[in-house]
């Protein structure tokens, strides 16, 4: 399978700060690769290195078969980048914005005009092509941002937290578009398959990626398919329901085999030490009952990515 991105042993520092340390990453054709991690973990720096916006201190990057340090122009011609704080010209119309970004990328009118109508159709903005960008809703701006990144018919899209601060409806629409783009049969990119690297703070979005890299302090500390990552906590997550919640929380939190307690809506997720499930399941209900509480259900559940995220981000903090 073709590698669209191959990055080896990347390191990037800003003064004293090591933003990215020994990161290796590869993305195959047709994949959606998710970068997740805390703020400042290095996600944005990696994306900027991949688009050639900055040079790594060490390491190599090949994008779409081109060495970024030597052939950055050829590589860039094949990728679309949507930065976290992308800017649109609010006093230009939707179409004029696309035209601007197309011309910056060196496309002639004969190329960008049919292309932009095709993309606007795809993102659902065709009927708003003459509306000024400043008059668009937040969700529509997001779609226009994606459209500008797609104008060059990229083989690779790099999206830096495109859905942060966006409501669930817009996130749905945005992801349905991404899934169409990476599928072979999509109509948004002239039938050409697109691969995506996306950073996101939403674990439900991470669950949709082909593969994920969990970043922490400049490193990718765990990587794999969502199923592989969830398997890291197999047998270590219990779900506890009952009442009162605060009592359940307190009792669970004091248990010697419970490493972490989280509220998920009206229930608790307990992360327990490996191999202690049976004992905890036997022990906790008795303690809750003697504390005048009630356990409605307690049992093992498959770990969610949020459980994994929290476990991974805690394991290294060294108690800080």
């Amino acid at each position: 399978m073709t590698l669209l991105v191959e990055a080896l042993h990347l390191r990037k520092t800003f003064g004293e700060t090591v933003a990215v340390e020994d990161v290796c990453l590869d993305v195959k054709a047709g994949e959606i690769f998710g970068l997740v991690g805390s703020d400042g973990a290095g996600k944005t720096t990696i994306l900027r290195l991949l688009v050639g916006a900055m040079q790594p201190d060490r390491g190599q990057i090949e994008v779409c078969g081109y060495d970024i340090s030597r052939n950055v122009e050829q590589a860039r011609a094949r990728l679309g980048y949507l930065s976290q704080k992308f800017s649109l010209y609010e006093d230009l119309s939707v179409l004029e914005n696309i035209r601007f970004f197309a011309e910056v990328r060196g496309l002639a009118a004969s190329e960008w005009l049919p292309r932009s109508m095709e993309i606007l159709d795809f993102v659902g903005l065709a009927e708003f092509k003459d509306r000024r960008a400043g008059q668009l809703s937040g969700g529509m701006k997001q779609k226009l941002g994606l459209a500008t990144a797609m104008v060059t018919r990229p083989t690779l899209l790099l999206l830096d937290e495109p859905t942060t601060g966006v409501d669930p409806v817009t996130r749905q629409d945005f992801w349905q578009m991404l899934i169409r783009l990476v599928s072979n049969s999509n109509d948004g990119n002239n039938g050409q398959q697109v691969s995506v690297i996306i950073s996101t703070p939403y674990m439900d979005e991470a669950a949709r990626c082909s593969r994920i890299g969990f970043m922490r302090a400049g490193n990718i500390v765990a990587g794999g398919t969502p199923a592989e990552l969830r398997a890291l906590l197999t047998g270590r997550v219990l779900e506890l329901r009952g009442e009162p919640l605060f009592l359940l929380r307190k009792i669970a939190g004091e248990d010697k085999d419970v490493e972490d307690v989280q509220i998920f809506g009206d229930r608790l997720h307990l992360r327990i030490r490996s191999g202690t499930a049976k004992e905890v399941i036997r022990r906790l209900p008795r303690q809750v009952t003697s504390g005048q509480g009630r356990v409605a259900a307690l049992g093992m559940v498959p770990a969610g990515l949020e459980d994994v995220f929290i476990a991974l981000s805690e394991s290294s903090h060294g108690g800080s």
Partner: protein, 303 residues
Amino acid sequence: MAGPVIVADNLTRRFGDFVAVDHISFAVQPGEVVGYLGPNGCGKTTTIRMLLGLLQPSDGQAVVMGYDAFHQTEEVRARAGYMSQKFAIYDDLTVLENLVFYGGVYGINDRERIEETLGLVGLVGHEHELTGGLSAGWRQRLALGIALVHKPQLLFLDEPTSGVDPTARRIFWELIYELAAQGVTVFVTTHYMDEAEYCERVGIMRAGKLLALDTPAALKSKILPGDVWDIHTDQLLAGLDLLPGLGSIMRVGLSGDHLRVICPRGLGKRELEKVIASAGLQATAVEAGEPTLEDVFLSFAKD
């Protein structure tokens, strides 16, 4: 205080011919944690700004802690804290200096209260760090501290967790619960539906109108048009394209790595599986789902 902390009565705000907030009415009781959801630009922030007396209502009125929000603004602001979406923190000041500065703005010069606030938001030990170097999660806690330094009885939080990772979000919500347990009333906007689940009541706004305000459980039972199902399949795209409108399926969307559909109440698993098969889809699993606020929110969006 016996009466409601917030009473909005036909609260309305126009900007030119644009109606940002359209005759909304609601009341919030002391100690409640009320979540406020809605797309960007639906009027959430404008509502908060009117409740704080920062904007004059075009129509209707807001009474906050017994004071008219616009005409008795000083009284309201002395008792309410506000963490805005784009909070201003001085990057070239330390954590402590920022708190002392904003404390001064509210007339709090009491060193003990400043220390107490630092403890409340978990910033003890970081007093002398420059704010510019803090991560988003820490900055957000400082912003909360700034909103809390004058011991408000009511706290407005406008998308406080936007752009913050899951761990930091959790820590932040622990703080909110602690405050609520101390009797502080909290009014919070968010795009995270899991956060909304933790609120006692949740309001949903769209295009300036308050569509509903109720407990999460009541919203789920009243608003959702049917039962929720999770369908696991490798053919997500085909599912999104083929299932809507098929048989009795009312809505199809993505949820995590699978499809989520809403069907009329009482439709059995067998029947749903038949519908799926009739679309030529192969499902690896079809399971009854538990309704979430995300389902509620998405149901409102489609009409």
